[in-house]
């Protein structure tokens, strides 16, 4: 491998280089699984704001970014963190308090929008959502859409099936492509060129990556190219899509990484209590952020505060890929 194909850089630098105020961004994972949390916390520490976030079912990463005021616009299908927060708490607060502009889709629609972006087509068709308020209620107004070239002019379109009643459909919904400026995912294995191997469900990470102008990969294990080349069938993302690779063990904590560690339900519950911030002083969430995010230099320092005991408690069993009999709150 030649030098120019070595994309390994420190996470701080990757975020500085690729995530700017106003960037259109997406993050990998699903609710409490494989969120790129090290990158999320670094974005918060760098005080990047006015982000436009594209999400299908995002969880802890989304809620931290909203809680820190990084997000100004949001296109989303679902926001929840499992039992700890069936609805993401800072997300709900931000909407209830009119603090962000948001637009709702379904999970399939958002996945298809990333897929359209990855395929280089302006839209993909689906039969989902006809008659629902997802079609009729637009979070971004027509005038706002017109004035912003980075936002498509129409939320979605419903058309007659151009092939008569072929496949039995009379109407088809077209959802427009997304091409984020930057997507950040966390994977089990990557090599220095950026080829990635995801173990367990890939969610929509592959489509999000391929739709993006730039991609930062954080990985549990930075492995030799040779290790990945032994089984190309397990490498869902070839290096040609990747801009930067950052080696961050436990980089998805407190969300789960199949085969490595489980979600930390204790941390998530504690986060939820802080996020609700129901005390009189209303300083619980600020204290949480000061301690775990602003008060630390990087993810390693964050993990030191979390403590080895929690890390040990969520360690995955090699047979099942999760922490067997873990106490789950």
């Amino acid at each position: 491998m030649t030098n120019s194909l070595n994309k390994v850089i420190p996470l701080k630098q990757a975020i500085e280089q690729y995530v700017k105020n106003g960037s259109h961004i997406s993050i990998g994972g699903f609710t409490l699984n494989r969120n790129p949390m090290a990158a999320v916390y670094e974005i918060i520490r760098q005080n990047i704001h006015d982000l436009h976030l594209y999400a299908h079912s995002n969880g802890t990463g989304l809620d931290e970014l909203i809680g820190a005021g990084c997000i100004s616009k949001l296109e989303i299908a679902y926001a929840g963190i499992g039992k700890a927060a069936p609805t993401c708490i800072r997300f709900a607060k931000a909407i209830q308090n009119n603090e962000i502009i948001f637009e709702d889709y379904s999970n399939y629609m958002m996945s298809l929008r990333f897929m359209a972006g990855s395929m280089g087509v302006p839209f993909l068709p689906t039969l989902s959502g006809i008659g629902s308020d997802i079609l009729s209620k637009w979070g971004f107004s027509k005038s706002m859409r017109k004035s912003d070239p980075k936002i498509v002019d129409e939320k979605l379109k419903i058309i007659d099936n151009p092939f008569g009643t072929w496949t039995g459909a009379s109407k088809v919904v077209l959802v427009p492509a997304i091409n984020p400026d930057i997507t950040i995912i966390h994977v089990q294995k990557a090599d220095a060129m950026g080829t990635c191997s995801i173990q367990g469900l890939p969610f929509a990470d592959i489509e999000q990556v391929k739709a993006s102008k730039n991609v930062i990969v954080t990985c549990e294990k930075l492995v030799d190219k040779e290790e990945l080349r032994l089984n190309p069938d397990l490498n869902q993302i070839p290096f040609i899509h990747v801009s930067a690779v950052c080696h961050i063990p436990l980089g998805a904590y407190p969300s789960a990484v199949f085969g490595h560690y489980d979600y930390d339900s204790q941390y998530l519950r504690q986060y939820a209590i802080a996020a609700k911030d129901q005390d009189k002083n209303q300083d619980k969430f600020k204290k949480y952020q000061d301690k775990y995010i602003y008060g630390v230099k990087d993810h390693e320092a964050f993990l030191n505060i979390v403590g080895q005991e929690r890390i040990d408690a969520i360690k995955a069993d090699p047979r099942t890929g999760y922490a067997v009999n873990m106490k789950r709150d």
Binding site: F30, I81, Q96, N107, G129, I130, D133, L201, F203, Y322
Partner: protein, 258 residues
């Protein structure tokens, strides 16, 4: 004849939902009580039903109950770990989609089986914001049978949804098909009081079964909209066998049954 054992509302809800699942069905399941209903069906009446998550795992071996559809517990021993786009395609594709039965929750339901999982109050400035559609809207659009799991309360069984997240029969009658959707959407509603179904012709919800100890009147008191209760009969209570399997094999630690 079996004697009737005492059971909790959660237990009868789970059993009523499990009875809706047929052998060979692909069960689109969420977490919590819907997962338990899917497991109960597999253990009681539908051994070849397949548990399926919108996140893409098919026929996972659930050695531990997952607490989220992205829980790593669903990735173990699955037939396939596929992408999100694949999982919804499986339901949108009529060949496999027609075999899917979905179990959904909601904050509000109307007489036509339309669901709201988005917000209470105005969409743009809501009183309460919920998680949003997730895959709910997709599933309700694609698959022929959906079970809604609800607590039976007036503020949940409403005349008008604050937001229509997942389409049922839209405005009733032929309106779902006329709008361009496939037949499908919520076909049964299981609550702590009874089992409702959607009438095929009118597209309206009617009371099919009330649980032992519950009257149709009590159900109407807890329903904001007008509902036909004229065809209602008392539900067969959970059998000893059903309860035994549910309690001993599906949730021995009572993580969900409480």
């Amino acid at each position: 004849m079996e004697t009737i054992q005492p059971y909790t509302p959660k237990e009868i809800m789970t059993i009523m939902a499990a009875r809706e699942i047929k052998n060979g069905d692909i069960v689109f399941s969420g977490t919590g009580i819907s997962m338990l209903a899917a497991m109960a069906a597999k253990n009681i009446n539908a051994p070849d039903s397949v548990i399926f998550f919108e996140t893409g795992a098919i026929d996972s071996l659930l050695e531990e109950l997952p607490f989220a559809v992205a829980d790593p517990r669903i990735m173990y021993w699955a037939a396939s770990n596929s992408r999100l786009t694949d999982s919804f395609a499986t339901m949108q594709n009529p060949i496999t989609g027609q075999r899917v039965i979905a179990i959904l929750g909601a904050a509000q339901i109307d007489v036509y089986g339309n669901l709201n999982t988005t917000c209470i109050g105005d969409y743009f400035s809501p009183e309460i914001r919920f998680s949003g559609s997730g895959g709910g809207c997709d599933v309700a659009s694609f698959v022929p049978r959906c079970i809604a799991f609800m607590q039976h309360e007036k503020r949940k069984f409403v005349k008008k949804l604050d937001y229509l997240t997942s389409p049922g029969q839209l405005g009733g009658g032929n309106s779902r098909i006329a709008a361009g959707l496939r037949p499908g959407g919520v076909s049964a509603v299981v609550t702590n009081l009874g089992l409702m179904r959607i009438d095929k012709d009118t597209g309206k919800m009617y009371l099919d079964k009330f649980y032992p100890g519950i009257t149709p009147e009590k159900i109407l008191e807890n329903t904001e909209f007008i509902m036909d209760v004229s065809k209602a009969t008392q539900a067969d209570p959970p059998t000893q066998t059903e309860l035994k399997i549910l309690r001993e094999e599906c949730d021995p630690q009572r993580l969900i049954l409480g």
